[in-house]
Amino acid sequence: MRRGEALIEAKGLGVELGGRTVLHDVDFSLAPGEIVTVVGPNGSGKTTFLRALIGAVPPTEGAVRRKPGAVIGYVPQKLAIDRTLPITVARFLGMPRRQPAAAIEAALARAGMAELGGRQLAELSGGQMQRVLFARALLAEPDALVLDEPTQGLDQLGEASFYRLIETVRSDLGCAVLMVGHDLHVVMSAADRVICLNGHICCEGAPLAVSAAPEYRALFGHGTGGALALYRHEHDHSHEHGDGHDHGHDHGHSDAADGPGADANP
């Protein structure tokens, strides 16, 4: 699974936004065909990480390299469509490169949105929009899919089926998948590799190895059972505390990043 040249590679990646260091010392590479999930508390730089990898944010340190000619399908967290812009779903899928109508229909059907091609983009619900964005990314026949919290706005049932869809697509198209996960049990079941991010990579490895790593527990809770509930609890918790919390945490944490669990890489 991990053979061939890396599709996307980051070395010593650091990003500053508005004078604040959002990411530092991130080394990462995405191999063809693998599914990698990024987890981390709010404000830990997950979205910035993805945006830096696709080239939307310039790195302030280090470098990002994308394999020349590799097609990357990007699915943003959300898409704010201005209501003043009339556009149908099918037309949206044919941008910026026009696509044959049959290919558009096939991509929509694959994403579970068949027969919605004529709908106005601005009228879609959050979940439908996610599926449309996904269908659009598929149309380009990507070598790598980059998804930012693709299940936001889906109920649990929709979420589960969405992740099944991602796995099907991976096995059909053979593309690599890099996504920001948002739910722990999903991370466990669907990923080859999990990256735990909090300004830097705290730990990474196979899902089970990561969930056992102390760095991961420090971020997401200490118990072994009921991981999902704990995750949710901590998630809300860090949200309320905002910046100060992240900072203090980051400091106490950097030493531990070199500790045992840090390179749980298979």
């Binding site: 990357i72 990007y74 812009l85 949206f92 910026p96």
Partner: protein
């Protein structure tokens, strides 16, 4: 036939709207209304500079509009281009321009014609400039259509599919400066913004695709010019403001029609 000033006026207005209608759609979609105003208001400064250095007003206006558009654009790129900042730019540019015109010695300038346009005084060479400028803008928009649209929908999405949103924004900036330089004779610096916004907003309820909206905006704009000319001839009202009033009436009708259809 070209000697008839009404025919020249009609050709100038329609030619302008063929470019301003489609460009106006982007102004609406990207919420660039203030951006357009700031750039248009800088045109008066361009008129003053052109008279000072004895060059044609087209080039003077084009230069200042480009400078202003680029300045405002780079500010907004750095995230400081708030509504307030754009407003400051728009109004100061106008005030500075008016001061600069008053400082010109020995030249009496008909300010009204630059503020509100003087479409009935359009000469054959003006006509050439308007159609050339409008043609360049229309061609630019057609050529980059797919990329412009992708960049307008979402910068990151565009980037991931190989379209540089900054380049597309630059392209729109240049197009805006060109339209303003071509339009100053027709509707004037204060009303250009109206002819960008109103036809596009009028077209919105009737369009289901961006292409339809662009075509409709050009048609509505052209119709407003022709009806406005006729009305101004009939009732002897100032032409530029009459054209804008007709366009505004069209917008009102379109909005009412749309809300009737919904209910």
């Amino acid at each position: 036939m070209f000697d008839d000033f009404m025919v020249r006026a009609a050709l100038a207005g329609v030619g302008l709207m063929l470019a301003a209608g489609p460009l106006g759609c982007f102004v609406v979609w990207r919420r660039m209304a203030y951006f357009g105003d700031a750039t248009a208001h800088a045109a008066i400064l361009g008129v003053a500079l052109a008279l000072m250095f004895d060059v044609s007003t087209f080039w003077g206006v084009l230069a200042t509009a480009l400078a202003m558009a680029t300045a405002v654009w780079s500010l907004s790129e750095r995230g400081v281009g708030s509504d307030a900042v754009l407003g400051v730019f728009a109004h100061s540019a106008l005030a500075l321009g008016l001061v600069a015109v008053s400082l010109l010695e020995g030249i009496r300038v008909d300010l009204m014609s630059y503020l509100f346009g003087d479409i009935l005084a359009v000469t054959t060479s003006d006509l050439f400039i308007i159609w050339a400028g409008g043609g360049v803008v229309a061609a630019l928009l057609a050529w980059r259509w797919q990329s412009l649209l992708a960049a307008t929908l979402d910068g990151d999405l565009a980037l991931a599919s190989g379209v540089n949103p900054r380049r597309e924004q630059l392209c729109l900036t240049v197009a805006l400066a060109l339209v303003i330089a071509a339009a100053i004779k027709v509707v004037g610096a204060l009303l250009i913004g109206a002819m960008l916004l109103i036809p596009a907003a009028t077209a919105r309820p009737f369009a289901r695709t961006p292409e339809a909206m662009v075509v409709l905006a050009a048609c509505f704009g052209g119709a407003a010019v022709l009806l406005g000319l006729a009305a101004s001839y009939q009732w002897d009202t100032p032409t530029g403001p009459t054209i804008v009033s007709v366009a505004a009436g069209g917008y009102l009708a379109s909005t009412l029609l749309a809300s009737l259809r919904k209910s």
